[in-house]
């Protein structure tokens, strides 16, 4: 399944992700800039912040309670469809997904 990250300068990085893999792990494997995942995916850092295009936001679903709180600590300003990519697991419904990587 394919995922694409769109960077602030317009550059795009695409990679394959497997079902069950988090989008943070997929980004680290693909070397996507600004996705650091410093807390290993435990919602303690907000360094895997991504913004979903509206058409994908609904498919990925809303953030949970703790994720919602930690999204208030991101470096780039939070947007309506911001998520922590460590909390989104890849599944067939997300094949072809594009994620926007916000820069501070």
């Amino acid at each position: 399944m394919k995922v694409t990250w769109r960077l602030a300068d317009g550059r795009e990085i695409s990679a394959d992700a497997t079902a069950g893999e988090t989008l943070k792990d997929a980004a680290l494997a693909a070397g996507v800039p600004h996705i650091l995942g410093e807390c290993g995916g435990s919602m303690s850092c907000a360094t895997c912040h991504v913004v979903l295009p509206p058409e994908w936001a609904e498919k990925a679903g809303p953030p949970g309670e703790f994720e919602d709180a930690i999204l208030d600590t991101t470096e780039a300003p939070r947007q309506a469809t911001s998520r922590l990519s460590c909390q989104i697991e890849m599944h067939p419904g997300l094949d072809g997904l594009t994620l926007i990587v916000p820069e501070p």
């Binding site: 410093e38 807390c39 290993g40 435990s42 309670e65 930690i70």
Partner: protein
């Protein structure tokens, strides 16, 4: 020239605080990484423990908070359930409980909020350097490294500057509770049993608690709702509020952890300047070096030497079986010198990138809450120091804290030549 000097024979006792009074036993850690990366130590002061020393293993185990729990204590010492409950902070809880507390204060320590402190940090740094650099020779830990985190702590908690020396003395007594320079109640040398329900087994915990109570009463009287202490007292979504006990322990954690860790990062950085003279020139040249230098200094320092976890189930690693209930120490200080990950790990390379150091507990839920503040303090302090100083040279041997938990240079005599 490297900064590191071999200080041990490769078989140092990791449970002994005296070992670390000569500096971290890097030869022992290097041997363990090579020969015995899952190492069992017996300990006369309690149950034995496992030591994890390779960077990759620490990352892998730190991620698995369900298998390696923080909820039975994070130091080597054994705690009864009663002691644990009396003394724990959110550092000593696991997800999801850990998150309930963390989300209350996470915003106060977020990168954008911390960035707002830069002007204050720079002003405080100028004052501190004005005073320190008026002398040719001084103890850089006392005159510089100790000063900045202490003064900043006051701003973050919202206490009068006049109270800060007392607060920091009590914070030191807590976290450096194995060094007779910092406490009259040395943990492993006397019976501290009567203090066993107080933070860090220390009577300083009780004094800090009284102070925190008076401080909050005064703030309430004035209607002062600024600062991180007010945030932690707010109810969560379900209306739950923090207990008095938890508040006391959180306050002690702020005073202790928010204070000495950055102090010892700054001290280690100044020690590096004294032994690798090219670093000052690189700092003065400025530019991109400030993107990477703070993390390299913090890698070099590794103020938190290890955190302990407790296995919740049997776990196989490198042919050893860690049993459920066993204590497991993640030696950040060893992972940060792992030659498998860091090229020339005993050299300070201010341009090191990537720098996946473990000083902040990388890869796990307990990632340092104050890491953005620590990086900013280190950055601003060395920017300003490099602007003013031509050279730093040792003016005598430096001395380490007597602790296998907090790694720090407690005395750092230096001679400086200003520009």
């Amino acid at each position: 020239m490297t900064v590191w000097q071999p200080m041990d024979d490769g078989h140092a006792d990791l449970a002994s605080h005296d070992t670390f009074a000569k500096g971290p036993p890097h030869n022992t850690f290097a041997r363990l990484r090579r020969e015995d990366p899952v190492h069992w130590s017996e300990w006369s002061g309690g149950r034995g423990f496992w030591s994890i020393t390779r960077h990759a293993d620490i990352l892998e185990l730190n991620r698995q908070f369900d298998a390696f729990s923080s909820a039975q204590g994070i130091r080597m010492e054994d705690q009864t359930r009663e002691e644990y409950l009396a003394r724990r902070t959110f550092q000593e809880t696991d997800p999801p409980e850990h998150m309930k507390t963390r989300i209350k204060v996470a915003k106060a320590f977020s990168k954008p909020v911390i960035a707002g402190f830069e002007g204050q940090i720079r002003d405080l740094t100028q004052e501190i350097l004005d005073r320190a650099l008026a002398q040719d020779e001084f103890d850089a830990t006392r005159e510089i490294a100790r000063q900045l985190p202490m003064r900043l702590l006051g701003r973050i908690i919202g206490v009068p500057d006049a109270d800060l020396p007392w607060l920091v003395e009590k914070g030191d007594a807590l976290i450096a509770n194995t060094d007779p320079d910092f406490t009259d109640h040395v943990l492993d040398r006397m019976d501290t049993d009567e203090f066993r329900l107080m933070p860090f087994n220390s009577p300083a915990g009780a004094e800090l608690w009284e102070y925190a109570q008076a401080l909050m009463a005064e703030k309430n009287r004035k209607g002062d709702t600024d600062g991180v202490l007010h945030m932690i007292l707010q109810p969560d979504r379900d209306g739950n509020v923090i207990s008095e006990l938890e508040f006391r322990n959180f306050f002690c954690l702020l005073v202790a952890a928010g204070n000495d860790t950055t102090r010892y990062s700054i001290a280690a950085g100044i020690q590096a300047l004294a032994h690798q003279p090219e670093l000052l020139g690189q700092m003065r040249a400025g530019g991109d070096i400030w993107e990477t230098a703070p993390d390299e200094i913090i890698r070099w320092a590794t103020p938190a030497l290890y955190f302990r976890r407790t296995a919740t189930r049997d776990y196989e690693l490198h042919g050893k079986t860690i049993r459920a209930g066993d204590k497991v120490l993640f030696w950040w200080v060893s992972g940060n010198r792992d030659e498998r990950v860091f090229d020339d790990p005993f050299r300070v390379d201010l341009a090191r990138a990537p720098n996946p150091h473990l000083s902040f507990g990388k890869g796990g839920p307990h990632l340092c809450l104050g890491m953005h503040l620590a990086r900013l303090e280190v950055k601003v302090l060395f920017e300003e120091l490099a602007r003013r100083v031509r050279s730093v040279t040792p003016a005598g041997p430096h001395e380490f804290l007597r602790s296998n938990f907090v790694g720090g240079i407690k005395r750092l005599p230096v001679r400086v030549e200003t520009l």
